[in-house]
């Protein structure tokens, strides 16, 4: 009997120790798995690149990773172009994003004011979301020119829906009792909006903003596919590099565009945490 108890005690302690160790282990385990995956991917990439280079003789289709790095950072002809186009795309994406934020939030606030306004306007937000933007892009070019303005319009169209829907959701998710608290003091629409609804909607707005930010980069690149004039961005660079069979350049431009998307997503996620993280837990 005693030995059984001791055994139970011993195993109990082992289990607890293991649990503690796992908690400690988890902290250090956070950074190395993605690095390991990256190493595996790069290794795989080298294998595939070697296959295309040695077997197929089509090295430009899958260039070696170090050549891509060289194109991105150390190619005197290509790297400056990449930086300049990155700047242009960032400018288009951010301009489009700001416009999408302003229109999207205003649109949602308007809809939150009355059920009939919401019923009248919401379908158009959904329609905007459902339109295959790619089908519209040539028309936008024809109407607004093939330059900066059209790029921004495409970006806005692609990124506005999450702003509208998340802001509206946030404005409407205000607790009924909190709203009544304002009603009891005779607070008007404007006061209720600025002191209750808008602050309450901020977490939701930032979730929308993060999504919209990612989409704005996509919008900027998509616009480039159709509009070559004005201030060409990464999309144009991808096309030009591809047509010149510059494999390393194409990959460098694609990776840069992806990095831009990730950075914008992270920055706006961080911004959300900075602004409302003190009282709201994003989880």
């Amino acid at each position: 009997m005693a030995s059984v108890d001791q055994l139970a005690l011993a195993t109990g302690r082992v289990a607890r120790d293991a649990r503690i160790r796992r908690v400690y282990a988890r902290r250090s385990a956070q950074w190395w798995p993605p690095i390991a995956v990256l190493a595996l991917l790069v290794g795989f990439w080298y294998l595939v690149a070697a296959y295309y280079d040695r077997v197929q003789g089509l090295a430009f289709l899958v260039p070696y990773p170090h050549l891509v790095l060289k194109a991105a950072f150390a190619d005197p002809l290509f790297s400056p172009q990449l930086v300049q186009d990155l700047g242009n795309s960032t400018q288009v994406a951010l301009t489009g994003l700001v416009v999408a934020i302003i229109i999207g939030v205003a649109w949602a606030i308007l809809m939150s004011q009355a059920k009939w306004i919401e019923r009248s306007l919401y379908p158009y937000a959904v329609i905007l979301q459902c339109i295959p933007i790619l089908a519209l892009v040539p028309l936008i070019g024809a109407l607004f020119g093939y330059e900066f303005l059209s790029r921004v319009i495409v970006t806005v169209m692609i990124s506005i829906f999450p702003m509208v829907s998340n802001t509206l959701f946030g404005l409407q998710s205000v607790d009924r009792a909190q709203r009544e608290l304002f009603t009891l003091q005779g607070a008007g629409r404007w006061t209720t909006l600025t002191k209750l609804q808008f602050p309450a909607a901020l977490p939701s707005i930032f979730v929308g903003l993060r999504t919209a930010a990612g989409l704005s980069v996509i919008g900027a690149i998509v616009g480039d596919q159709f509009f070559q004039r004005g201030t060409p961005g990464l999309g144009v660079l991808i096309q030009v590099s591809t047509s010149r069979l510059n494999g390393a350049g194409t990959y460098a431009a694609i990776l840069t565009a992806s990095a831009l998307g990730v950075v914008v997503f992270l920055v706006f996620g961080l911004l959300g945490r900075l602004v409302v993280g003190k009282w709201y837990d994003f989880g």
Binding site: A177, L181, T183, L184, Q185, G186, L202, W279, D281
Partner: protein, 259 residues
């Protein structure tokens, strides 16, 4: 009689010190649910009236009508004050505002000057024993402290009529008893009239000068009990036979009405 919003009182009721007067109030919701039927209820200055009843009997609807959030479908409602405090079931604090800023909210909405309302808020915060927590955010507070903040917020209005919608229902027993004592202290100190909704019979008897028992839906008043114990109340009164007897009577009426 058609739907009536709360109206100003006549000279007669004013002289009697009646702050809230319901006569034959009926409430039918648009979906046909009858929440209240034939309710007569008065709250005078110096009274603390508690309404007990089963869940869903329309107790809260009474408060909503008294505060003007809802309009009764029949009967007359007379409210003789502009200074009405309303404490909700939840603390309904704004999570982005600190305790101090939350307490200031109502005065702010009423257009009071910043300096004045800050002083008023501080006074209310001290009154409910939250001094030192002014800068805390609601998420850093316990349930009881949130409710204290909510109370302080209403106190800044210096209400003559204080409406409480089961404010302590979600709190644990110990916190609840503590807040009951605080509430009684405030009642004696601030001289407001109270209308308090609860489903706890002992809380009702302990807090009030009058207990009103409501039946299940549609809610109507099935019994009224005067509570004879003097104010300020000794917490130990809860363990006296007289207290127990009254709790028994009220519980009995509640059970009868629920049948």
């Amino acid at each position: 009689m058609s739907a009536t919003a709360p109206v100003r009182p006549t000279a007669a009721s004013r002289s009697a010190g009646t702050l809230l007067d319901f006569t034959n109030v009926e409430m039918t919701f648009p979906n046909g649910t009858v929440a209240l039927r034939g309710v007569d209820l008065t709250v005078k200055r110096g009274e603390f009236v508690t309404v007990v009843g089963p869940s869903g009997c329309g107790k809260s609807t009474l408060l909503r009508i008294a505060s003007g959030l809802e309009v009764s479908s029949e009967g007359s409602v007379v409210v003789d004050t502009d200074r009405i405090g309303y404490v909700f079931q939840d603390a309904t604090l704004l999570p982005w505002r600190s305790v101090a800023d939350n307490v200031e909210l109502l005065a702010e909405l009423n257009g009071m000057k910043a300096k004045e309302r800050r002083a008023k808020a501080q006074e209310a915060i001290d009154l409910v024993g939250l001094g030192g927590f002014e800068k805390n955010l609601p998420k850093q507070l316990s349930g009881g402290m949130k409710m204290r903040t909510s109370l302080a917020r209403s106190l800044t209005l210096e209400p003559e009529l204080f409406l409480f919608d089961e404010p302590f229902g979600a709190l644990d027993e110990i916190t609840r008893e503590r807040l009951n004592d605080e509430l009684l202290r405030l009642f004696v100190e601030k001289q407001f009239a109270g209308l308090f909704i609860t489903h706890s019979v002992s809380e009702a008897v302990y807090l009030s000068t009058k207990v009103v028992v409501m039946s299940g839906r549609p809610g109507s008043i099935v019994g009224t009990f005067d509570v004879p114990f003097p104010m300020p109340r000794d917490p130990d009164i809860r363990f006296t036979p007289e207290f127990g007897a009254l709790v028994g009577e009220v519980s009995h009426a509640l059970r009868e009405g629920h049948r």
